[in-house]
């Protein structure tokens, strides 16, 4: 079993498709992941299932891999911290989750913005430019900046989980760049494709962080590290361009108001 626990999850699922179905039953959504390079044991650990649930799931997986055999299943490593009844975050992690709220507001509005987007209209092009500015200034420089420059440094950045998250950031940047390039060429379809791809990417990325990665990080960080992160995030926010952040917040609120008005017409 050790051999498969130390194998990339995609490899295990490809070889034993039933394992993917079992993982899905326990809300471990590795099947649709394009990368799938996380090790099975890390995937199990990071999801922090209740003891009994984990035992039951691992027993089912072992029966798929070794039918008719009794296999010893090693227990995943835990941080020994008490499971909280509901999803709660340490103050620095809560700040990142709160920043997600504004990002989610903008990406939720993207389909509506694109539906009536006229590539030849000055006003519509301005909305796209401001939308990409939000992606670059707020979602990337302010938010992903805190993750890459501060938070991820507390972990092994070479592990597959972090590589996946960093790849998402890079892909997001390339969609932002490609959106502006398409806009420049008055290529409506290009703008639509890249902004919609950004939306899909970030929706999944944020869900992974809010529900899996951040709670796992909180379980792994010591009290001292949480305090350090909090101070470093404060310093990063103090250094950030306050007017730029305000402009980003205003942009999302105004777009939200505009489309709410259109909906009620």
């Amino acid at each position: 079993m050790e051999q498969y626990l130390n194998a990339p999850v995609k490899e295990v699922i490809t070889k034993f498709p039933k394992v993917g179905k079992i993982l899905e039953e326990y809300e471990i959504g590795c099947v649709p992941c394009n990368v799938g390079s996380c090790l099975l044991k890390d995937v199990v650990e990071i999801h922090n299932l209740a003891d009994e649930e984990e035992k039951e799931m691992m027993a089912r997986i072992s029966r798929v891999i070794y039918p008719g055999q009794e296999v010893e299943i090693p227990r995943t490593e835990r941080q020994g911290k008490v499971r909280s009844k509901e999803l709660t975050y340490s103050p620095p992690m809560k700040r990142l989750v709160d920043e997600h709220v504004l990002i989610k507001k903008w990406i939720a509005l993207i389909p509506q913005v694109l539906e009536i987007f006229d590539v030849h209209s000055e006003d519509d092009r301005k909305i796209i430019i401001e939308g990409v500015n939000f992606i670059r200034s707020y979602a990337d420089r302010l938010h992903h900046g805190k993750e890459e420059d501060i938070l991820f440094k507390y972990f092994d950045e070479t592990s597959d989980i972090f590589k996946t998250m960093l790849d998402d950031h890079v892909e997001g940047r390339s969609h932002a760049k490609a959106t502006l390039e398409a806009l420049e060429k008055r290529d409506r379809q290009g703008v639509v494709d890249h902004l919609m791809a950004y939306r899909a990417l970030l929706t999944e990325h944020i869900k992974k962080e809010d529900e899996i990665l951040f709670p796992w990080m909180d379980r792994s960080l010591s009290v001292k590290q949480v305090g350090e992160l909090f101070s470093k995030f404060n310093a990063a926010d103090d250094r950030a361009d306050q007017d730029g952040i305000e402009r980003c917040e205003k942009f999302v609120l105004e777009i939200e108001k505009k489309f709410r008005k259109e909906e009620s017409k």
Binding site: V82, S84, K85, T88, K94, D218, V226, S231
Partner: protein, 156 residues
């Protein structure tokens, strides 16, 4: 009223039946205490060992209930103890905790309380001090069961 009724904070309970087997450590457990005094009325919130520190604010009873108190919680931290049920002058406590946040610029505060309802008062004092403080600090609440089990650990 029977001796087993009344306030859960002072109700008599007998744990002898659930006595655990002797688990004598192979070496003597070292104290992790690195300061004196420790009672919240007696400490100065700006003493050197509080500067930038991770601080434990512990209800008096916790260290008796929690078997691994020194190694699991006190190690590497500075401490103050108090009883929110019996101590007088608790408005001074709020000011001292606030001074930890603002003047000693502590890194974190962990409030360790027992599960009995009266112990929540200590957490309330910490919350009040945080609300009054201009400088914010991560505060964690740990609730300890009567027989030393950790019932919850939550950042507030």
């Amino acid at each position: 009223m029977s001796e087993f009724g009344g306030c859960p904070g002072s109700r008599a309970m007998d744990f002898r039946k659930s006595e655990v087997k002797d688990e004598a450590p192979t070496t003597k457990v070292q104290s992790q205490l690195r300061q004196w005094p420790i009672q919240l009325h007696l400490i100065s919130p700006v003493a050197p060992y509080y500067q930038g520190a991770d601080v434990l604010l512990t209800a008096d009873c916790v260290a008796y209930a929690l078997g691994g108190f020194h190694n699991d919680y006190l190690k590497g931290k500075s401490i103050a103890i108090a009883c929110p049920k019996l101590d007088e002058g608790q408005e001074v406590y709020v000011e001292k905790i606030k001074s930890w946040f603002e003047d000693a610029k502590i890194n974190t505060l962990t409030v360790l309380i027992m599960q009995v309802p009266c112990c929540r008062g200590l957490l309330q004092l910490a919350k009040q001090a945080l609300e009054n403080s201009k400088r914010k600090v991560p505060v964690k609440a740990v609730v300890v069961g009567l027989q030393g089990e950790i019932l919850s650990e939550d950042w507030i």
